[in-house]
Each structure stands twice: as structure tokens, then as C-alpha cells.
């Protein structure tokens, strides 16, 4: 049994720095590369792609990435774990096999975690007495069942552990918790007991720190952000895990960025609710128990983490189509930039009203003035404002209203207040609103399943 393993974060979201995983593999020693690709909205986007083409529905950056890193991963025995399989992990794995063949790799085993995608068995689940009520509003899902785009169960670390035990070099999953990706190798390598909830929580906390990529190693840092060196070549975080549950967050020395008390603390607080109840499928972690110690040299130790048994439910993330939105902007310059932008907004709204268009909401924000901090923004003397961007967005169940809104924005240039520019890129186009529906499902109603694909 290994005494310590190094787990590297390779992506914080789908769209993150494409070559970050390449740097993690090449710039120093690691044992695992973990990549989180799935935000809540991502699953519905992937489901739409799969509906159009049954071979799609996963993060298509992955085969391209594998082409760059697979030989080194095999040579150095680095295992890759990612939830980028989306709604089609099997196709993702097939593409990786093709890449391996192209690279003349002779031997490769990929574990594929299935069973999280329940969009086709919703009726069956409801029949079994689980109504998938919205966790936040209590509404029943029957209301939106016909418009469902995706429905996925969040699995935890254990299906991945099973794949690792069976010798997988790469594990591709669908909807797995971000934290499970990092916890799984610790359970596997150290033989941690499923019921040791302190250890489950230690791995989970490490996963939370890694799941947003460089946000734990100097990116988006509010404390002395200018003190972060070489942000251009920022190193993504690495969790150096020990069998006793102590974890050191660090990064490759040769890369940029910074790991400090501040970088780790900011990430620990990111997107959490009640810190004593950080709920995952594997445990409930207590973030108020985490001890943090800066060891210097970009090494921060987290230890003494406490946790509790997991709940009887998996979280389910459903999404459904819920109308359309569009947004566009125009920029007004000094003098009277804000007054002009506000006048343009008023004229546009009057025109939309005269056209009898139907909107659930119209929202205007003045970028450069108060778009981010709203009423908290400092009120400026208008003579000091060089320019203001008027951004207007609409939402409606009626596609035609949203489409027509898109045609009313550009005319303001010749039919509204003066010194206006910035209308590039054509008319704002309607895009579909994907509403998100969080629910719970008893664990016994869904079973994760691990399949394998092999080159031998």
C-alpha cells in the first residue's frame, strides 16, 4: 500500500485552460489526473447534442487531450479520472480507444461508470413512489415532465473505486460529484473503510479544493492578487494525500500561481451553504472542523477533518426547457453617457410595449456604472463617466417576442440618443432557457454500473 499519492486537478470546468492537464502531467510527479467538466447546465447541453447525434453528448475536448497526454500517462502510470463522459461516457471511451490505437498503444483499460442517466426512466421512478419534488420549492416534477432535457443522479467515489480495483487506467463517468473524482483514488490506494467518515470527509474536502482548478492556486484570488507570480503559466492545484487523512495542497514548482492559506481558504468557502453539512453521496463533511496550516513553499496542510455518515439519498439534477432569452448592448460615450443610455432604454421599452410583445422579464443594466454592484455602486458625477454600456436582456415563453426584441436594438443607433457605438456581431439571437430542477432519490432506486473497454 502506498503511503502517499499526488492527485492533480486538470480542469475547473468545461472551457478551462485546454493545456492545463498537459502541464500537470509534464511539469512534475503525479499519480492521478482528475478533471471536472460538468456544471449543472452542462448536462442539458450535452443531452441536446446527443439528441442530434447519438455519438455525441460528452466533452469532446477529451479525445484531443488524450492524444497529447496518453503516452506519458501510460509510461509514468498516471491514472486519469473525469466526469467528462457527460450523458455518453461510452462514446467518450470509444473515442479514447481510437486515439490509443492511433498512437500505437498496445494495452489500455478504460472503466466507464454508467447508470446516472435516468431521463428515460422517470415514469418508472415516479411509479415506485419517488416524485422527484423540487428540493427548493417542493413542486412535483409532473408539471415539467414533458419538457425534461436531462435528469442525472450524482454518484460518488465508489463506482470509480471499483473501476480502479479492476485495473482501469482511465475512468470515464457521467454525472459524478466533483469531490468523488478526488476521493476515489484515496479510498482505492489507502484501502480506506467506507464507514470511516472522517477519512471520507478528508478526501471530499480535498476534492472541493481541487474541483475549480486554479481557483485554489492563485486564480480569482481577492487577497493580494497582484502578489501571485506568473499567472500566465498558472499551475493547477495538486492534493498530496497521506493514508492517515492528512492532505497537502500544493502545485508543481516550475509553474506559476500560488498556494497559501488565502488561496485555499477562499476556495474552501466557494459555493458552500451550511459548512457543518456539506452533503455528498459518500459522507457529510464538517467544514468547520478543517484545520489549515501554511507550511510555506506553496504547501498548505489540511487535517483533522471530521465527517458523518452519508444520507439515504442521491441528489438528482434535472433540467427542462423553459422559454427563451436574448440580450444585447450598445455603448454611449461622454458627454452625458449615463443619461443617454437611460434614455435609450426608455425608448426601446416603449417600442417593445407598442409592439405588444410579451415578456416575463426585461432587465437593463449599465455596465461601467452599476451592473455588478447595483444599488451599492458609488454614484458618479456624470462628467466623470467616459462611457456606459447599456445591456438589456429579455425572457419570454414566446419565441417570437424574443426574436423581435433582437431586431429592435440596432435601430436605436439611428433613431435614439447620440454618440453611440458597439453594435457588432449582429442581432441578439434567442437562446433556450434551461431551468434547473434539483431533487432527491432514494439510493436503492438507482444502481451505478461499471463497464470496461480494453485494448489487449
Amino acid at each position: 500500500m502506498k503511503e502517499k499519492i499526488r492527485i492533480a486537478s486538470g480542469q475547473g470546468f468545461w472551457g478551462d485552460l485546454i493545456d492545463a492537464p498537459v502541464a500537470q502531467v509534464n511539469a512534475g510527479q503525479i499519480d492521478y489526473l482528475v478533471m471536472d467538466y460538468l456544471a449543472e447546465v452542462t448536462m442539458s447541453i450535452l443531452q441536446k447534442q446527443k439528441n442530434k447525434n447519438p455519438d455525441h453528448g460528452y466533452a469532446r475536448d477529451i479525445p484531443e487531450l488524450m492524444e497529447k497526454i496518453l503516452p506519458q500517462c501510460i509510461e509514468k502510470d498516471i491514472k486519469v479520472i473525469t466526469n467528462g463522459g457527460g450523458v455518453n461516457p461510452v462514446s467518450c471511451a470509444k473515442e479514447i480507444i481510437k486515439v490509443a490505437e492511433k498512437l500505437n498503444i498496445k494495452k489500455l483499460k478504460i472503466g466507464v461508470v454508467l447508470g446516472d442517466n435516468i431521463v428515460d426512466s422517470i415514469d418508472n421512478i415516479i411509479e415506485q413512489g419517488c416524485h422527484l419534488n423540487n428540493m427548493e420549492t417542493g413542486e412535483e416534477i409532473d408539471l415539467h415532465k414533458d419538457k425534461l432535457l436531462s435528469a442525472n443522479v450524482y454518484f460518488g467515489a465508489f463506482p470509480i473505486v471499483e473501476a480502479l480495483k479492476n485495473g482501469a487506467q482511465i475512468v470515464i463517468t457521467g454525472r459524478t460529484t466533483d469531490t468523488g473524482l478526488t476521493l476515489a483514488p484515496m479510498i482505492y490506494e489507502f484501502g480506506w473503510d467506507k464507514e470511516n467518515y472522517n477519512l471520507m470527509s478528508a478526501g471530499t474536502v480535498a476534492g472541493h479544493i481541487l474541483e475549480c482548478g486554479a481557483q485554489a492556486s492563485g486564480g480569482n484570488l481577492m487577497a493580494d492578487w497582484q502578489g501571485v507570480e506568473n499567472m500566465a503559466e498558472i499551475g493547477f492545484p495538486i492534493a498530496e494525500a497521506y493514508s492517515n487523512g492528512e492532505i497537502i495542497i500544493t502545485k508543481h514548482e516550475s509553474l506559476g500561481g500560488k498556494v497559501s492559506l488565502e488561496t485555499v481558504s477562499e476556495q474552501l468557502l466557494y459555493e458552500i451553504g451550511d459548512p457543518k453539512n456539506y452533503i455528498t453521496p459518500d459522507c457529510v463533511a464538517d467544514f468547520t472542523s478543517i484545520k489549515v496550516q501554511d507550511l510555506g513553499n506553496n504547501r498548505v496542510k489540511i487535517f483533522d477533518i471530521k465527517g458523518f455518515p452519508e444520507t439515504e439519498f442521491y441528489k438528482v439534477s434535472c433540467s427542462y426547457a423553459d422559454g427563451f432569452t436574448a440580450s444585447g448592448s450598445l455603448t454611449y460615450s461622454w458627454p452625458q453617457a449615463l443619461t443617454k443610455a437611460k434614455a435609450a432604454d426608455k425608448i426601446l421599452r416603449q417600442r417593445l410595449k407598442n409592439l405588444n410583445l410579451q415578456f416575463d422579464e426585461i432587465r437593463t443594466e449599465f455596465i461601467g456604472y452599476d451592473a455588478t454592484h447595483g444599488p451599492l455602486a458609488v454614484k458618479l458625477d456624470e462628467n466623470l463617466i467616459n462611457e456606459v454600456m447599456m445591456r438589456i436582456a429579455v425572457r419570454s415563453k414566446d419565441y417570437k417576442s424574443v426574436e423581435r426584441f433582437g431586431r429592435e436594438l440596432a435601430p436605436l443607433i439611428l433613431t435614439g440618443p447620440p454618440s453611440v457605438t458597439g453594435f457588432a456581431g449582429g442581432r441578439p439571437k434567442p437562446s433556450e432557457v434551461v431551468a434547473y430542477w434539483p431533487a432527491l432519490i432514494p439510493k436503492n432506486l438507482v444502481q451505478p454500473k461499471v463497464e470496461y473497454m480494453e485494448l489487449v
Binding site: E40, V41, E136, N220, L221, M222, A223, E262, S265, E266, Q267, L268, L269, Y270, E271, I272, G273, D274, P275, K276, F287, T288, S289, I290, K291, V292, D322, T325, S327, E361, I362, R363, E365, I367, A371, T372, H373, G374, P375, L376, R391, A393, V394, R395, S431, E432, V433, V434, A435, Y436, P438
Partner: protein
């Protein structure tokens, strides 16, 4: 004595559906004593008037010298429903750090 929150703390914010979470971290123990005492639920709710339309939840993390606030009904519906420019509440930690308050010397 007037204290500017930005001088004694940093933070990070993000989204949880239609709620935003704002984590505020004091730079030292003295700073934590100040935020623990003065950064009350009521004060934060009042600060975000016109931004946060729901309940404010407040949690203490003395181990990180931090407070976590959950601002319900804040992001215009959240996700792709929201029409807000900052639909994920990424800039709300900075917005909270604008706060100033009086403390005893």
C-alpha cells in the same frame, strides 16, 4: 473608529441556484473578532437591499477565521433563467467588502 471591511478581510462568492454565497475571511484573529461581532445577518441583509430579496443565512467558520453568508433570492432566478449580467454572483464578495462600520477603539 471606522473600519473598512476590505482592509481586514477578503472573500469569494458564487452561485447556488437562485441563491448566492458570500464567504468573508479575516486576515488575522483580531479581524475575525471584528467581523464576528459586526458582520451580523441584519447588517448584511441591509447592505444588500435591492440585491438580495430573500433571507440571509449566516454561518461561522472560526477555523478559517471566516463567515459564510447565503443570500437567498438574489440571482434573478439563477442559471440560464437569470437575466443578470453577473448571474452567478461572482462579484458579490467584492460588493460586501464595500461595507464600513464603527467599532470601539
Amino acid at each position: 473608529m471606522k473600519v473598512k471591511l476590505i482592509d481586514i478581510a477578503h472573500g469569494r462568492s458564487g452561485d447556488k441556484g437562485d441563491a448566492a454565497n458570500v464567504g468573508i475571511i479575516a486576515y488575522d484573529d483580531k479581524g475575525y473578532d471584528i467581523i464576528k461581532k459586526h458582520l451580523t445577518k441584519e447588517r448584511v441583509k441591509k447592505h444588500f437591499e435591492g440585491i438580495c430579496f430573500g433571507e440571509v443565512e449566516r454561518y461561522e467558520l472560526p477555523n478559517l477565521r471566516a463567515l459564510n453568508f447565503v443570500l437567498n433570492n438574489t440571482l434573478g432566478g439563477g442559471g440560464t433563467v437569470s437575466l443578470k449580467f453577473d448571474a452567478q454572483g461572482k462579484t458579490l464578495a467584492a460588493a460586501l467588502l464595500r461595507m464600513e462600520f464603527e467599532i470601539e477603539e
